[in-house]
């Protein structure tokens, strides 16, 4: 019934609009010099508004952005991002200025004549070649960095399997042999929720956990599996993301650069945390403390929006102690 009510209101607004326009002059149709002058002026006003929100957002929203990369591989991501952002920022400011300034400067007038200017190979050459050269630089740096982040050849890397299902994450450490035992959905049974093949010798020392602990300064080699639909393991602070695909194992790697504690002391993180806590205390909620997170970033169902896993980066000694305390699968699954 309520829907009908809203539709009725809509119709009523429409009808009153119709009535109003009957009074209005519906004869003004083609822009005259007066319109041109007015609209040209508005173009300048709009430009001012637009530059104001661009600059405001660029400055005021700095604090909400992700802090500096917490992985060593991500450093170049940040640098490439900054280069690209400065570049497109400058181009954006110039181009938008030209668009709206020209709209104002060359507004139509009976006494003016437009310039007949159909072609200039020189100009076109300039704005074909310049972007091309700039792009060569960007592409080159980008591809080099892409090869960096996708390089998983480090044999000493700590191997961790990240396992997704609607709507939770689990993880499995490869144990002392640093080799993961086989896994398949057919082995899922009881507490063997990740479907690990317990007949495989490599499985025995694997360790299943619900929270990730990572040692600072060591390369981590992630393997991803999913048991039902696509998920995506998104670790924004490490500039890392990879889809988890049922029927397939995907991979990604990075080296944590700061422990969680160190990250909490970073000025950027402190500033962002302060902003968050202002909102939270206003609502009477618990205070927030920075933590690394793994989020699901591929639409996966109703509770997609809450699917997450905490990541804690610690000093290597602390990590060694922690991992030694975790029970092996052989001990858990008899």
């Amino acid at each position: 019934m309520l829907a009908l009510f809203y539709i009725f209101i809509g119709v009523a607004i429409g009808v009153s609009f119709w009535q109003i326009t009957r009074i209005l002059d519906f004869r003004g149709v083609v822009a005259n010099d007066e319109d041109n002058a007015k609209q040209g002026k508005y173009a300048i006003y709009f430009m001012v508004f637009f530059y104001a929100i661009m600059v405001y957002c660029l400055i005021a929203m700095n604090v909400i952005m992700l802090p500096e990369s917490a992985s060593i591989e991500g450093e170049h991501d940040d640098r490439l991002f900054n280069i690209t952002f400065w570049l497109i920022g400058i181009v954006q400011f110039i181009m938008q200025f030209l668009i709206f300034y020209f709209t104002f400067k060359y507004l139509g007038n009976k006494n003016r004549k437009a310039k007949f200017y159909a072609d200039s190979h020189k100009l076109e050459l300039i704005w074909t070649v310049t972007p091309a050269i700039v792009l060569v630089g960007l592409i080159g740096y980008g591809l080099w960095q892409w090869n960096n982040v996708m390089d998983l050849s480090d044999e000493d890397a700590i191997l961790i399997e990240v396992y997704s299902q609607q709507f939770r994450w689990d993880a499995r450490y490869a144990g002392d042999d640093n080799t993961l035992g086989l896994g398949n959905v057919n082995y899922i049974k009881g507490i063997n929720t990740m479907g690990v093949d317990m007949k495989d010798v490599n499985s025995q020392d694997d360790k299943q956990v619900t929270e990730l602990y990572l040692p600072k300064g060591k390369k981590i080699h992630f393997k991803f599996r999913s048991q039902d639909v696509l998920h995506s393991a998104y670790m924004p602070h490490f500039r890392a993301q990879m889809n988890c695909v049922p029927g397939m194992v995907t991979e990604f790697g990075f080296t944590p650069k700061y422990t969680t504690e160190e990250m909490r002391q970073q000025p950027e993180v402190i500033a962002k945390t302060r902003g968050i806590n202002k909102v939270r205390s206003a609502k009477g909620e618990d205070l927030y403390e920075f933590d690394y997170l793994l989020l699901c970033n591929k639409i996966c169902g109703a509770s997609h929006y809450s699917m997450q896993m905490k990541i804690t980066v610690v000093e290597p000694e602390v990590y060694d102690k922690w991992i030694a305390e975790q029970p092996t699968l052989a001990a858990v699954i008899k």
Binding site: M95, L138, I276, V279, D291, I299
Partner: protein
Amino acid sequence: MSEHHHKETFVTKYIFSQDHKMISKQFLVTGMFMGIIAVMMSMLFRLQLAWPEKSFSIIEAFLGPHQTDGVMNPDIYLALVTIHGTIMVFFVLTAGLSGTFSNLLIPLQIGARDMASGFMNMISYWLFFLSSILMVISLFVEAGPASAGWTIYPPLSALPQAIPGSGTGMTLWLVSMSIFIASSLIGALNYIVTVLNLRTKGMKMTRLPLTMWAFFITAIIGVVSFPVLLSAALLLVFDRSFGTSFYLSDIFIAGEVLHYQGGSPVLFEHLFWFLGHPEVYIVLLPALGITSEIISTNSRKPIFGYRAMVMSIMAIAFLSTIVWGHHMFISGMNPFLGSVFTFTTLLIAIPSAVKAFNYITTLWKGNLQLNPAMLFSIGLVSTFVTGGLTGLVLGDSALDIAIHDTYFVVAHFHLVMGVSAIFGMYAGIYHWFPKMYGRMMNKTLGYWHFWVTIICAYGVFWPMHFIGLAGLPRRYYSNTAFPMFDDLADINVVITIFALVGGVAQIIFLANFFISIYRGEKASQNPWNSNTIEWTTPVEHIHGNWPGKIPEVHRWAYDYSKRVDPNDDDSDFLHGQDFVLQTTPLLEGEEQS
């Protein structure tokens, strides 16, 4: 030519019409109707994003069983974004934009009596109508409409156990889209054949207005890529209904292992994006073509660099078919492929930049007639630049992994293809309304419509970049599960307010449109003093477009402000006025431009 008038009944004239002008109006009105649905959906889910736990009676009213005490359920949130995307991309910006203006303008601007096959043209519209009806019906099925995102990645879209919308809702979605694809293909084939074969005497390909080039190339991309989506959809139907495993493998859901073996969702992603990316240009190129025409006409200047514009349309079209992988950098495909796709993707920046610079140069030293259509075209150039530039960030695989599927992406594509294409569509409507309905739209309302819309468009999408850079994933029903996003709440409120105002402001346009059909000022034959030959047809529509012979074309479409002495800006106009219809023969000693 009255002998061309067959005796027409109401049904053959307004419903099962084979006249391209009527069909174009049918496309437009259907597209507008679908657009209203999609915009209303976006307003509902923006309410949810700004005030996640607040109860709204409007949500209670419209979402019925899919809400609890005026708060929408997570399922229906996903359904709303899915259907909003589907309708906007396909029903509004493909059929509504390309269908409307290709149909209206191709015969008129190349000098043809009608499309190559009026009958196929009619079929194309009615298939589109049927698919629209099915899509609307799918909104009312019990478990809710399709809700796996407009990209409908399996397994989510294949398994009703995974999300309720993947039941009947998804089936209807697939049927609707298959019919839609058939409609697009029939339309596109017709456009291609018409442009190639039915040009009037003198209308060489190199004299085609840029709108024609844009529609022609768009139709080609559509023919190349839409069938692939059809096959993707059919295989998905097989997986869903007949137990095959094209996309599915090793799935454990709802407590049991399913029988699927050996398929891969990545295959679907490849097939989907092989259409999905060219689709962006199917949406955008017609808008750019319309803009080229309108900016040139209203600047009273030739479009700058006609050849470069044609070349860049072709380059964009070609590149668009080899960049689909940039949607899949993190899908688990081979990283080497990622490198290749990064390379081809960033190359698209070159023809795009050429187009943007050429538009700006066309404005330079013009005599700008700031009609609403012109403002929307200028707005398009602005949003195209803003949205296009962030493409350099997303197209770079190394950067994409950090912000893939965040609100940064949402901001990027909404500006570059959503807002830009909508602006192109509005520009086209304001400009060719006199050609469609024989009356003019009101300019004051047009100005209001433009300024409110562009302010709201930037108000919505500019801040959105930053919440994306804060790492906020898209398609989250609410951010409340993550304290780290709590500081984004205010920004979400601002975005929603702009979205609501912008959405409601479209009423100005709708009112202007429908009132002008009946009460607008009668149009003159060539209200914008344009060069193209659609303005040589009589204002009243007749079958066959021109009474008597089709006019012969003697020049390109952009001889605006041509001078006696090409090098002297103060010299008189060569033809005594600042425009020269394409049908005007060359003067003695006049050079072709």
